[in-house]
């Protein structure tokens, strides 16, 4: 029982990061109908910026702010710089260009910084608080959970309660009509990219201190897990990202704890196939068969 609690808590903390990153994928999917395969690499670039800024100023918080800014900028650059050229007629070209962006960013990071992992410090202690003899969550895990849930709540408010959110949703779902109504659709798409990339950067920044250290491939597995989460939850659905994220996080933790680390990727594959066979559009898909 103690062990179950411990694994659940660990899984939730990791799942919150998956959820946040998956949310970034969902945001871009809703804005531009593209799965941003470059999200991980873009987030790692932003994390390098945070690493450098924290190194210079000594402040984690200035580093965090700079990661958000750098993430947003990456979104702007990638969307305006290359994604604009993806043929809108085909959903494939966007994906393929994004894969190209991954290769470019990772190789540039590799050339600039080499393969070695750089340790990143967490801003809060990572020693777990013990409740009833069971180590549950560390202050840092709590911080991650609070930030993840907080950011998701903020985004929910943004999308449902503000004019900007309305325009973002309108241009995603009905670009032609929105344009007729005076919404600057192209600008909204860019806004979606900037927002999503900043959220993705935040997720990577939260994850790296719990891993080996910062290197050009730091977010590879984060992307794969979060993409699975987004697909399981439904690419259109922010609540799906949250539920899927926590679910996948807990699943990986439980499988690793009870069956072994080796089995975890297989469990993720089984979950993905099982969900998609029942609901091809993900758990929270609005329509059964929505054409991309």
């Amino acid at each position: 029982m103690d062990r179950l609690l411990f694994l659940l808590a660990t899984g939730l903390a990791r799942g919150a990061v998956f959820a946040l990153f998956a949310l970034a994928l969902v945001l871009i999917w809703r804005a531009a109908r593209v799965v941003n395969f470059a999200q991980g690499a873009m987030a790692v670039v932003a994390t390098y910026v945070a690493f450098a800024v924290t190194g210079l100023t000594g402040s984690y918080w200035i580093g965090l702010a700079s990661a958000l800014v750098a993430g947003g900028l990456m979104g702007l650059i990638v969307e305006r710089g290359v994604m604009r050229f993806a043929g809108h007629a085909s959903p494939l070209s966007g994906v393929i260009i994004a894969i190209g962006v991954v290769m470019v960013l990772q190789s540039l990071l590799g050339i600039a910084f080499g393969p070695n992992a750089r340790p990143m410090e967490a801003p809060f202690p990572e020693t777990p608080i013990v409740i009833g003899g069971v180590p549950v969550l560390s202050p840092y895990d709590l911080f991650v959970l609070i930030v993840a849930v907080g950011v998701m709540a903020l985004l929910a408010v943004l999308f449902t309660r503000t004019p900007l959110g309305l325009q973002l949703r309108a241009s995603a779902f009905a670009p032609e009509v929105s344009r007729l109504l005076g919404v600057r659709v192209a600008r909204m798409v860019t806004a979606g990219w900037v927002l999503a990339s900043a959220v993705g950067a935040l997720a990577a920044l939260l994850l790296v201190p719990t891993e080996l250290g910062l290197n050009p491939h730091s977010a590879d597995m984060l992307f794969v897990s979060a993409f699975t989460v987004a697909v399981v939850g439904g690419l259109d659905s922010p609540p799906g990202a949250l539920v899927g994220g926590l679910g996948v996080g807990v699943l990986i933790s439980l499988v690793t704890g009870y069956l072994g680390a080796t089995v975890a990727p297989i469990a993720v594959l089984v979950l993905l196939v099982a969900v998609l066979l029942v609901r091809p559009g993900g758990l929270f898909s609005a329509t059964e068969a929505r054409t991309a």
Binding site: R3, P115, L212, S253, G260
Partner: protein, 442 residues
């Protein structure tokens, strides 16, 4: 979809529209032309003509090659080895080479991907016509070229991995290992734990491949089957070992053995610290370099690594004469790169090759260098004697224990060698002394 009667009609009608085959032919012809243009030489004739000099050997050079992970996720921590070997060869060449020949060392990046290893090793053997492959790194990568090198009778010297696969003289007569193998290493660590921490509960965290399997085998050889309180495995693709460390903590493990690479040794120790879990950590030398670990662990390293136990079979210790020489070479020929266990490893490999080449005589041949190594005349620079012979292609069958005291990793004077029957015995012979400034002579 193909059985149709009216084909003649269709034939006449569709004739002018057929563009694809023409373009396919054009494309493939263009490609063939490209291939032809690249082919510089024709198919070479029979190999091993005894009258000719051995491949890769000229009057003033010997060219050898290696495959190393310089890029990709596995590169961290390993890319400094070949740089150190190269620096050592530069030092030898500056001092007249070996038997008047300079050593040229071609380093190819395989990104720790077996498919790339196969390609670059063929390139080294067929295109660059190297004399030998030296210190190919990694178990899965090198396994993929083991058959190829032996079929082509290319000396495959001093493989950088502790797998026991390299020591199969009957099956692979051209292959020789370098590292003390994982089984011997684990036996020595288990023996040390048994002597030093008697009665404490021993556990293991191992990589989910042959590294972990062989290490666990060695531990059980000494401690007895089923004596490990908890056996945990990790996969390199998942940088989260909280579940495993948590299980070890829950099982009450007091002495934790690690069959981990450097990154995961750091991860295990760091994760345990975060869980507020204190234990005695003992790691395979593959993941036990304190300098590298400190790089991963950051500011907390001195506190976390205090008392950390690992093994080594090479003279990497402050004040050792070999260590001093290697530091000097590192400053002069390697741009003063960070000096760590990998540097000593790389230079020791270079030294052993230079020694073998010197012993292979004035006209070295591929068979000649293999004979020189099997003769048992090589001494190397290890803490235990080399065990090369006609029946053994393993280099070191023993290790010495090191601990970290006040932030310094050093030997404690406890050395074990394999007793050949699933255990180890204490060794109190002398380590190999430095001679002739580390320049081998025949």
């Amino acid at each position: 979809m193909s059985h149709e009667p009216q084909r003649s009609v269709a034939a006449t009608r569709s004739a002018p529209k057929r563009t694809a085959p023409t373009r396919t032919v054009a494309a493939i012809a263009a490609a063939s032309a490209l291939l032809v243009a690249m082919s510089a030489c024709s198919t070479p004739g029979a190999v091993n003509d005894p009258a000719e000099a051995a491949p890769g050997v000229t009057d003033d050079t010997v060219t050898i090659g290696t495959h190393q992970p310089l890029t990709g996720p596995a590169a961290a921590g390993y890319s400094s080895i070949s740089a150190a070997t190269t620096a050592y060869f530069a030092y030898v060449n500056e001092n007249g080479g070996v038997n008047g020949r300079e050593i040229e060392y071609l380093v190819k990046d395989d990104g720790y991907n077996p498919a790339t290893t196969q390609t670059v090793v063929r390139e080294l053997v067929q295109d660059d016509e190297v004399f030998a492959i030296l210190n190919g790194l990694g178990t899965p990568t090198h396994t993929s070229v083991l058959d190829y090198l032996n079929q082509n009778e290319v000396p495959d010297l001093f493989v950088a991995s502790g797998s026991t696969s390299w020591n199969q003289p009957e099956k692979y007569p051209w292959t020789f290992g370098f590292n003390a193998d994982y089984v011997t290493e684990a036996e020595a660590l288990a023996q040390y734990a048994d002597d030093e921490f008697a009665g404490k509960s021993v556990c293991v965290l191992g990589q989910d491949d042959d590294f972990g399997d062989e290490f666990i085998e060695g531990l059980e050889n000494v401690l007895g089957e089923g004596s490990l309180a908890s056996v945990q495995r990790y996969s390199v693709s998942n940088q989260d070992v909280v579940a495993q460390i948590g299980a070890m903590q829950a099982a009450g493990c007091e002495v934790n053995m690690l069959a981990t690479v450097n990154g995961f040794t750091a991860l295990a120790i760091g994760t345990a610290a975060k869980l507020g879990y204190r234990a005695q950590w003992m790691s395979s030398s593959s993941g036990g370099d304190a300098v590298t670990l400190a790089g991963f662990l950051g500011d907390a390293a001195p506190m976390l690594l205090e008392g950390f136990v690992t093994t080594n079979y090479l003279p990497y210790a402050p004040g050792n004469e070999w260590d001093d020489l290697f530091r000097q070479i590192n400053d002069e020929y390697n741009d003063g790169a960070p000096f760590d266990g990998n540097t000593v490893f790389g230079m020791s490999v270079g030294y052993l090759f230079a020694e073998a080449l010197a012993k292979a005589g004035d006209e070295p041949t591929r068979q000649g260098i293999v004979d020189a190594i099997q003769s048992g005349d090589l001494v190397g620079n290890g803490l235990v004697p080399l065990s090369f012979s006609g029946d053994s292609h393993a280099a070191y069958k023993g290790v010495s224990i090191t601990t970290v005291v006040d932030g310094v990793q050093d030997f404690i004077g406890v050395t074990y060698v394999s007793d050949g029957s699933g255990g180890v015995e204490s060794f109190d012979g002398e380590a190999v002394a430095l001679e002739n400034d580390g320049l081998p002579t025949s």
